[in-house]
């Protein structure tokens, strides 16, 4: 057996172990296109969360996850960090002042310095994230005890997390909406315990991040089939 075969065997074993130790995930990723997209080299995108003044609760870690996933790899997009973008355009992308619809963009661009700052950073698309991950169900019972001779747990618990996110894509070239991508992921985690608890965790938020980022990249880079 060559070294490469042994290494790939180890990777496969680790993969099966990871699969065996994870919960159950179902996901649905969709996009709705409103216009032709595409991105030139040098053009960049910004990922922002919709305002919490509007009741949105998108987690900071989800925004960072999408930013990382889109910028990673050889075909990664140029992503401007959201804090840098918001600071550079203060106060026009604050939770209170950010435009809620594309029809607010022409007026925004007329404000002193706004169009220039956007052009300096060569921002082509703004992606507005909306949604969050919630625990929607759970059950079972698990009890643990410890004594002088040792300890252990016994029982079974489970819970279900739903990660629903929407990414609205605004094209700053035409100051119009390019469409949206949605991710609807449901993950059920299990925790059986017979002396030692064995967590089988379904990472719904991580799956929603990976799925949405992949679809978003295709949405922005690819032109629609004719």
């Amino acid at each position: 057996m060559t070294e490469a075969t042994i290494r790939s065997g180890k990777i496969l074993t680790a993969g099966f172990a990871a699969l065996a130790l994870s919960g159950c995930i179902t996901s649905r990723i969709e996009d709705a296109r409103e216009g032709i997209t595409g991105i030139e080299s040098g053009e960049s995108i910004v990922i922002l969360a919709k305002s919490y003044h509007l009741g949105n609760e998108t987690e900071g870690k989800y925004i960072s996850c999408i930013e990382d996933a889109l910028s990673r790899g050889s075909n990664g997009l140029r992503v401007i960090p959201h804090k840098q973008f918001v600071d550079s355009l203060f106060p026009w992308f604050e939770p209170r002042t950010a435009p809620a619809e594309t029809k607010g963009l022409p007026k925004l661009m007329e404000r002193p310095g706004v169009a220039e700052r956007i052009a300096e950073q060569n921002v082509r698309y703004i992606v507005w994230l909306d949604g969050d991950t919630d625990r929607v169900a759970g059950g079972g019972s698990l009890s643990c005890a410890a004594g002088p001779g040792g300890g252990g747990c016994f029982g079974f618990a489970w819970w279900q997390n739903d990660a629903d996110y929407n990414a609205a894509v605004w094209d700053l070239n035409g100051l119009q909406s390019a469409g949206s991508v949605t991710a609807d992921v449901s993950g059920t985690s299990f925790l059986p315990a017979l002396v030692i608890p064995i967590p089988l965790i379904a990472r719904a938020r991580a799956a929603a991040c990976k799925g949405l980022a992949e679809q978003l990249r295709n949405f922005i880079v690819d032109e629609p089939e004719v």
Binding site: Y52, H53, E57, E59, G60, K61, S64, D87, S88, L89, F90, P91, W92, E94, P95, R96, T97, R111, P112, G113, V114, R117
Partner: protein, 255 residues
């Protein structure tokens, strides 16, 4: 941070905001920072267990000083005991805090920390009379993600202050009409200004009397001979009609 029965002390460092993309108002203002605004401390007990002491310190004074320097052409920061009457200014602004509230995850059962601050801006004209009194509510929310200890609460407070800054940039003039204080005659000039108004009124009356004296003569000259074609054209030249048309507010037509 959350030790049951223990207290939490949070002290904010002075806040900085990015330079806003705005054109400053051509006003000369003084900003008077009251002592309680510069050293604002909020103490609270969450769910009867956790005692919190939040010291905003100089953060508010620093934020408002920076903000007004961006918003106005000329800004002078004065202390609570300084006399603004010696300054040549269009307006005096005095900020204060009416209320401060916050929530932590143990209360809200979310992963978020939130801060609400209700500010009040009192604006005085250059005679020292109160011109506007504007209460404004600001809100900031932060998660624990990437932050440790009391950092999320500090972050929420900073975001609330930033929210207040954005609100003031957007609405200060709309809500207080502070820009109308530009070059407003000072109190010492008020009597002189009144005299000026009185003499102008007398002159206008004289002119009006002259017009009235001239009107019959002019009408006699311009009165048309009876007939359907010439009549209306000559009547529209009536100087009284023109004067009354000038009094219509702009935009009152449907054009």
């Amino acid at each position: 941070m959350f030790m049951a029965g223990c207290g939490s002390n949070v002290t904010l460092d002075p806040v900085t905001i990015p330079a806003p993309l705005i054109n400053p108002m051509p006003l000369s203002v003084a900003v008077r920072i009251p002592a309680e605004f510069e050293h604002y401390v909020h103490e609270d007990e969450v769910l009867g267990r956790e005692k919190w002491r939040i010291d905003l310190g100089r953060s508010n004074a620093a934020l408002f000083s920076q903000l007004f320097e961006f918003m106005f052409d000329d800004v002078t920061i004065i202390g609570p005991d300084d006399d603004p009457s010696a300054l040549s200014i269009d307006a005096l602004i005095e900020p204060s805090i009416d209320a401060f509230e916050f929530s932590v995850p143990s209360q809200s059962r979310t992963e978020s920390y939130a801060v609400w601050i209700r500010y009040r801006l009192k604006i005085y004209d250059n005679a020292g009379d109160m011109y506007a009194n504007w209460p404004l509510s600001a809100y900031g929310k932060s998660e624990e993600f990437g932050l440790t200890g009391d950092e999320p609460l500090k972050r929420a407070a900073i975001l609330a202050m930033r929210d207040a800054a954005a609100l003031m940039i957007m609405n200060l003039d709309k809500s207080t009409a502070i820009s109308t204080l530009k070059d407003r005659p000072a109190a010492t000039l008020a009597s002189g200004a009144k005299e000026g108004v009185a003499s102008a009124t007398a002159q206008e009356e004289e002119v009006a009397q002259e017009k009235i004296a001239r009107l019959p003569k002019r009408r006699q000259v311009t009165l048309p001979p009876p007939g359907p074609v010439a009549g209306p054209a000559v009547l529209s030249m009536d100087p009284d009609e023109d004067a009354s048309r000038e009094n219509f507010p702009e935009g009152s037509s449907n054009d």
